[in-house]
């Protein structure tokens, strides 16, 4: 069996409703209702399965590190910290608390909020642009954000001074490719593939400018910017988690509110307009939200590719294209994928391997397999 057939079979098994046959004496309405119930149950099972997987991955990821802490001990320590029952006289409890709560949990939470933000942004962007290749990475939005942040870090050029000047720089430059893509789509009506190629071209332009800045920068600063830009979640602390969490989760919530509109856009501009939707305004608002998410994430973690691209595609196989379910399912899958990539990165080299390289190593081939398996008209 080739890989394409294998994936088609998985897809077939996931969409149980396709294998249903009408029972004897069953009316059309009863059959449709049964089909709907089976489809809904498979979606609930998918979400429940991934919630369970998420909890296992979360606990397992926290066990990995230089200090030996067991799976149950991880949840015990988290519970004791949350309930404030850590014994201040027990050195082992204090040690476990320091390692689990202060050192490992920020990294894990960063992985989760980054996964949620990128996957939700990718899912929304794919629906909005009717383009299965769209995500902040392939449309150059992440590269724009990276360029803005690098400008602040190497040359000290800030729109506003201070640490959060980097985030604002990233946001402003993330808007450049976003606005370019909006303008292009209104002006030339490009094909999905062309739109992505334009995004890639923008990405390379930003990368060229970034490389030039690196050549002029101090070697130590350049080395740390390179390391950071590959995509790293190992430097985040509790002070940064609320900021990146708020950006990511509020972005997700804002996109979730727009899911009905995104469903209409996914059916075509003419249909959306017939429902009284101002298509251009929705696209601009959506791109601004996505740019904020991408800028927030990139300015803290660097570029983490393929999560926003692959998670919605996998989720779509199981839950379909309804954005009301697709968006949360993609977010959950994005968080799981980030945790899996972080676990793999630890198991390959240790805590020093940047997660961005692992998401490319795992996400790239998965994406190609999905492309080959799903020979859609849109290509």
């Amino acid at each position: 069996m080739n890989i394409g057939n294998l994936l088609s079979e998985i897809k077939g098994r996931a969409s149980l409703s396709k294998t249903l046959v009408m029972e004897e004496g069953e009316s059309d309405e009863e059959f449709v209702f049964r089909e709907y119930k089976v489809a809904r149950r498979s979606k609930v099972l998918f979400i429940a399965g991934f919630v369970a997987l998420f909890m296992v991955l979360l606990g397992y990821k926290i066990t990995l590190g230089e200090y030996d802490i067991g799976f149950v001990e991880v949840y015990e320590t988290l519970w004791k910290h949350i309930t404030g029952t850590i014994d201040p006289n027990s050195k082992i409890e204090l040690m476990n608390d320091n390692v689990v709560w202060d050192q490992r949990l920020p990294r894990v939470l960063t992985a989760i909020v980054v996964g949620v933000g990128l996957a939700a942004a990718g899912a929304a962007m794919q629906s909005m642009m009717k383009n299965p290749l769209a995500d902040p990475y392939t449309t150059g939005i992440s590269s724009g954000a990276l360029f803005g942040a690098t400008l602040a870090m190497t040359l000290g050029l800030y729109i506003v001074s201070g640490y959060y000047g980097r985030v604002l720089n990233a946001f402003v430059f993330a808007l450049v490719p976003a606005l370019f893509i909006i303008t292009l789509s209104k002006w030339k009506k490009p094909s999905p593939a062309m739109m992505i190629l334009v995004g890639i071209a923008i990405m390379y332009i930003f990368n060229a400018f970034q490389s030039y800045m690196m050549l002029r920068a101090d070697p130590n600063a350049a080395a740390s910017v390179y390391t950071w830009s590959v995509g790293s979640i190992g430097m985040t602390t509790w002070e940064q988690i609320p900021i990146i969490g708020i950006i990511s989760l509020l972005g997700f919530a804002a996109l979730f509110i727009m899911t009905r509109t995104l469903n209409a856009l996914n059916s075509g501009d003419a249909y959306a307009k017939s429902l009284g939707i101002n298509v251009d305004r929705v696209r601009i608002v959506c791109l601004i939200i996505i740019s904020v998410i991408a800028a927030g994430i990139v300015s803290f973690t660097g570029i983490i590719g393929f999560i926003g691209l692959v998670s919605p595609h996998i989720a779509r196989i199981f839950v379909g294209s309804d954005n009301r379910i697709l968006l949360p399912a993609s977010a959950l899958l994005g968080a799981c994928m980030m945790l899996i990539c972080d676990i793999v990165s630890f198991l390959i080299i240790g805590a020093t391997l940047q997660i961005g390289i692992v998401t490319a190593m795992i996400g790239g081939p998965i994406f190609m397999l999905i492309l080959i398996a799903q020979q859609k008209e849109v290509w």
């Binding site: 027990s90 050192q103 290749l133 890639i200 130590n220 430097m235 020979q375």
Partner: protein, 148 residues
């Protein structure tokens, strides 16, 4: 296979290669500029164990956990004047504010009562512990970095 799809696969491959190139560059640059404080350090140890003079060596390794915290594991290998071996290992975790937290393990148990201090120099992201002292029931140790 449709041309659009071939382009999409090409794009995915280019993005993967781009990520690898960036990683390779980052790795090369960090090798060219190694952190002078991120390495193995040796110490000379002197002190007292159960009233007898003690001497030996100690080594320190960096543990990788979170980039904002610096984790150091010290292993002491010494003997008192009567030839009794004294082996002790302990961990010092420097938080983002630079405050050290000591965790001393002996025979699989964490020692509760002790007094520990470190002297260090700190440049850039890492810091280097140049000396330390420990005092617990029956044991007093002080260590200084071996100068090359």
């Amino acid at each position: 296979m449709k041309p659009g799809m071939i382009a999409a696969i090409g794009v995915a491959a280019a993005l993967m290669i781009g990520a690898f190139m960036l990683y390779a560059t980052a790795d090369l640059m960090s090798e060219m500029n190694p952190d002078p404080y991120d390495h193995y350090v040796e110490y000379v140890v002197i002190g007292e164990y159960e009233g007898n003079p003690l001497s030996g060596t100690a080594v320190c390794d960096t543990l990788r956990e979170n980039g904002a915290f610096h984790n150091y594991r010290f292993n002491i290998d010494a003997a008192d004047s009567e030839g009794n071996p004294v082996s002790q290992s302990f961990t010092v975790i420097f938080g983002p504010d630079g405050t050290p937290d000591f965790f001393i393990e002996s025979d699989g148990e964490y020692i509760q009562e002790f007094d520990g201090q470190v002297t260090r120099i700190s440049v850039g992201e890492m810091c280097k512990v140049t000396g330390f002292s420990l005092e617990s029931e029956g044991l007093r140790i002080s260590a200084q970095e071996v100068q090359e």
